[in-house]
């Protein structure tokens, strides 16, 4: 377990403001290689903002973030290098509507990783196989269901062969019958040993897959525990309140 103990993400006292609004108020956390971390908390508590600071879609204003040994500063080269190692899956999929599924997946490998086109397409097909929709390769995103689109988005992120995957509420925009197909893909990914940070309200998924759960409230990590402890014996009042709301509605 020595290798697994080595942290791939280190956050030290991270702060962020949107104008006067203090969104992140001192986040300190370390994520180990291969760890699966689920982030939950009430809406507006800064979960999205936090995981977006990790690949610098948002800039933090105080504190330190180190990803895979590189500190996030305003150095563009560093930022691009880090983004290549971090895959991100969005709530709204954000597939490129003017490109086919296959082109969506190969775009990054070809232009950013400088992979040969044939190689990239082979990789894309194997990823589509993995997420269960190889037959959709030549369609456009608008012709797919939400669940299929999100699986393409996962394949697109994986095609960059990242070390870390970030998920921002990947199932929140989906119809209930499509949630499972996306969670199944994520489960399989978790078992393959990927480092994952997942913002989600799917508590079943969290309990089953997570090594650790971070509970966010008002820009702080209020509670941090393995799932069994988190769900069965939460320590903080705010956690208890949140769990009671989310589990009995």
């Amino acid at each position: 377990m020595t290798q697994a103990a080595d942290p791939i993400i280190i956050c030290e006292d991270v702060h962020k403001w949107f104008g006067d609004f203090h969104v992140l108020r001192g986040i300190s956390v370390e994520i180990r290689r291969g760890e699966k971390v689920v982030i939950c908390g009430p809406s507006g508590s800064g979960k999205s903002t936090f995981i977006r600071t990790l690949n610098r879609l948002e800039e933090h204003q105080k504190g330190r973030i180190v990803v895979d040994g590189i500190e996030l500063t305003s150095d563009l080269q560093d930022i691009e290098a880090i983004r290549r190692e971090i895959g991100m899956v969005f709530q709204q999929f954000n597939l490129f509507p003017h490109l086919t599924v296959l082109q969506n997946i190969t775009l990054g490998p070809i232009w950013v990783r400088k992979m040969k086109k044939s190689e990239a397409e082979e990789l894309a097909m194997s990823l589509l196989e993995r997420v269960g929709i190889p037959e959709q390769a030549h369609k456009y995103p608008a012709q797919l269901s939400g669940g299929q689109q999100q699986r393409v988005a996962i394949a697109r992120a994986l095609a960059m062969q990242p070390k870390i995957m970030l998920f921002d509420e990947p199932t929140s925009a989906l119809d209930p019958e499509m949630i499972k197909e996306v969670l199944d893909v994520m489960r399989e990914l978790a078992h393959s040993g990927m480092t994952m940070l997942v913002v989600t309200h799917e508590m079943g998924f969290a309990r089953e897959v997570a090594d650790r759960i971070l509970f966010f409230d008002q820009g702080q990590i209020v509670e941090e525990a393995p799932p069994a402890e988190f769900f069965d014996a939460p320590k903080q009042e705010r956690t208890k309140l949140f769990l009671s709301q989310i589990l009995h509605h």
Binding site: F96, Y140, A142
Partner: protein
Amino acid sequence: MLSTPAAQAQDAASRTSRPAPRPESPFGSGLPLRRRLRAAWAWIRENLFSTWYNGILTVFTLGLLYLALKHGLRWVLLEARWAVIPANIQPLMVGTYPRAQLWRVWAVLATLALLSGLSAGAFGARLKRAAAWGAGIAAAFLLLPLSAVSRAMVLACAGLYGAGLLGARGRRALRPWLVGAWFLSFPWTLFLLWGVQGSQLLPRVETSWWGGLLLTLILAVVGICCSLPIGILLALGRRSSLPAISWCCTAFIEVVRGTPLVAVVFMAHLLVPLFLPDFRIDKVVRAMIGFTVFTSAYMAENVRGGLQSVPKGQYEAALALGMNSPLMMVLVILPQALRAVVPSIIGQFISLFKDTSLVAIIGLLDLLGVARSVIANPQWLGLQAEVFLFAGLIYWVLSYTLSRSSRRIEKALGVAGRR
């Protein structure tokens, strides 16, 4: 069926959301005569005489139409002296381009016909529709009072178009080559028309010899082709995070947009030689510069609108893949932004096509300029109406064809379908 998946999706969408059936039109339905007459009567009553004031309006309009048509048709068919058009067709089409070098104009048309045919084939146009377009354009040319040789040339171009269409059908692999060929067709055209100093085969034809419809089209095409990339750069510059760049671009755009086209063309005419005294830049090039400057400011605003229509998530998805911003713009943002503004770009082209007539103020003879000089000729005194009607008709046919083809291009690019 040979339709693309996008078209299928559209079909499906139109099937599910078909509008309520309209009251049946009496025209062209296969009913027996008596029922058809009754339907026609019902249609007339419902649409033309539904209320008393509608009835009065209908009668009044019919009266006006009758008068206009009666006199108009009599003039067009009997009184007008159309001989002026065939007698001047060559200057109207190509200005003073030397007769012996006219084959170069035909070579350009042939190139364009072949490319159009190949593109229609390779990009999957429906055979019947593409053929109808080709035939329509050829027919329009044949309606012009051209010489027998010219007519043969038109037919040859039509043949090339047809051959291209059939030859490229279903060959998707040709597509990238065709895009490249279209880009090259532009310098190729200018090269053919302009020629080389001292060459036997392609002697230089100075631009001062260019005129008529040829000049009109060249000015418009050069204006659009050059202003699109400049407009894109200006639009990107305006959004730049560097204040100096953004300020300069904004200033340029706003100054040009606040100036009438005539003034821009005139200033280009006067100022370019002052700024570049060492080069003798001829009038046509100066006019091109003027139109390009003017159009690129508007183009920049079009493109800016397109950029704003691309959702923020697209930028984030591209950045999250590790793209730098030029790559993001070229691969992800601009293709979507430009698709969204194809209609306004074509609109811009149509208005530029008509506005090129302003080159008269710097003494160039475009289609309208030639028309003016024709009626100034004592031999054709008093024939303004004939000549201007003919010029107007040409402007209209071309603008209308363009605006129709704009819809096809939009569809082909999936402006509506893919989002």
